[in-house]
């Protein structure tokens, strides 16, 4: 990649937020800023991280999956987004792969992830 692009990305990224290290399998609580009209409020989204894409770049994203009233909900967050206020690791999970797409067909007991101690 061109040096100029790197420089531009570094300039526009804003101040670096330090998020805790988290991996696929971990349960996280993401605080997202939401704008409703002129009002701004924070919404939390808690679930299991099922993948991290393009790590180490400004385009890095991570996918969080949760079961909300019986329906599976997934949300993709850009990690450099200014709307993400905070990421909290609730629980560390022990998994053997980087993409947990196998969770998509599962519910309840089958979708459990062992805790890493």
């Amino acid at each position: 990649m061109s040096e100029l692009i790197k420089k531009f990305e570094a300039e526009t990224k804003g101040e670096a937020k330090s998020f805790p290290d988290f991996k696929p399998g971990d349960t996280v609580n993401v605080s997202v800023k939401i704008r409703e009209g002129n009002k701004e409020r924070t919404q939390n989204f808690q679930g299991t991280v099922i993948q991290r894409k393009n790590p180490g770049t400004v385009g890095e994203t991570f996918t969080v999956r949760k079961i909300s009233s019986g329906i599976g909900v997934q949300r993709i967050f850009p990690i450099t987004s200014p709307n993400i206020e905070k990421i909290e690791v609730v629980r560390k999970g022990k998994v053997r792969r980087a993409r947990l797409n196998y969770l998509k067909g599962r519910q309840g007991k089958a979708a459990r992830i062992k805790e890493k101690i």
Binding site: L4, I5, F8, P78, T80, P82
Partner: protein, 210 residues
């Protein structure tokens, strides 16, 4: 219409004030040199000719060498004329004046980008015009999957209408994209960042107009 000449660097993204991710293109624009000023008296219209890019002396035709010598600059690669250059430059532009990107554009402006699109060679109608193709591999289709189909009636009009979309050279043509927002200016590096994509490959010449 004012403008500047530049070179496409590549694409990335940034966040706007609403926190939305916006795809954007970096363009190394300028500094350009004024190589000719056309006026109503001498040429019948007003325009400014700008030049950009490096060019070796030995690769420059003698006629161009003389042209660049008049404005006192080293030979340049691209020469573009802008009609009715920005009013605030009126009367200020003189031969050999260096024009920088932050003098022409400001953040938040909407600009048009002109470039030469990437050449795709001779392409069929599916790629070139977005035809659907046949859509079936069986029922008698063995080599007709991407064929254009009928191009007109045999008895009437018994000719093919002009402009019928057919296969042919795709890309490698001058393309203008309108209304790209200037997201950021980096005057120290002569870099302008516009929203969206710009025609052409990396390192190809881009003309920006306002």
């Amino acid at each position: 219409m004012s403008g500047i000449i530049g070179k496409k660097i590549g694409m990335t993204s940034m966040y706007d004030e609403n926190g939305r991710s916006v795809p954007c293109t970096l363009i190394q624009a300028g500094p350009c040199v004024v190589t000719q000023v056309k006026s109503e008296d001498t040429d019948g219209y007003t325009a400014v000719q700008l030049a950009y890019g490096e060019r070796k002396e030995k690769n420059t035709p003698a006629a161009l060498k003389g042209h660049f010598k008049k404005s006192g600059t080293a030979p340049k690669r691209v020469v573009v004329e802008f009609r009715d250059f920005k009013e605030e430059f009126e009367g200020q532009v003189e031969l050999g004046k260096e024009i920088r990107v932050n003098e022409v554009f400001a953040e938040g402006d909407f600009v048009d980008a002109i470039g030469v699109s990437k050449g795709k060679g001779f392409q069929g109608v599916v790629k070139r015009h977005g035809f659907g193709g046949v859509g079936q591999a069986t029922h008698g289709q063995h080599n007709r999957m991407r064929a254009p189909g009928s191009i007109g009636g045999a008895s009437y009009p018994s000719r093919v209408f002009k402009g019928m979309r057919m296969a042919g050279q795709t890309g490698n043509s001058r393309v203008q994209v309108l209304n790209l927002k200037v997201m950021k200016l980096m005057p120290d590096e002569n870099v302008i960042v516009v929203s969206g994509s710009v025609p052409g490959a990396k390192n190809s010449t881009v003309i920006l107009e306002k």
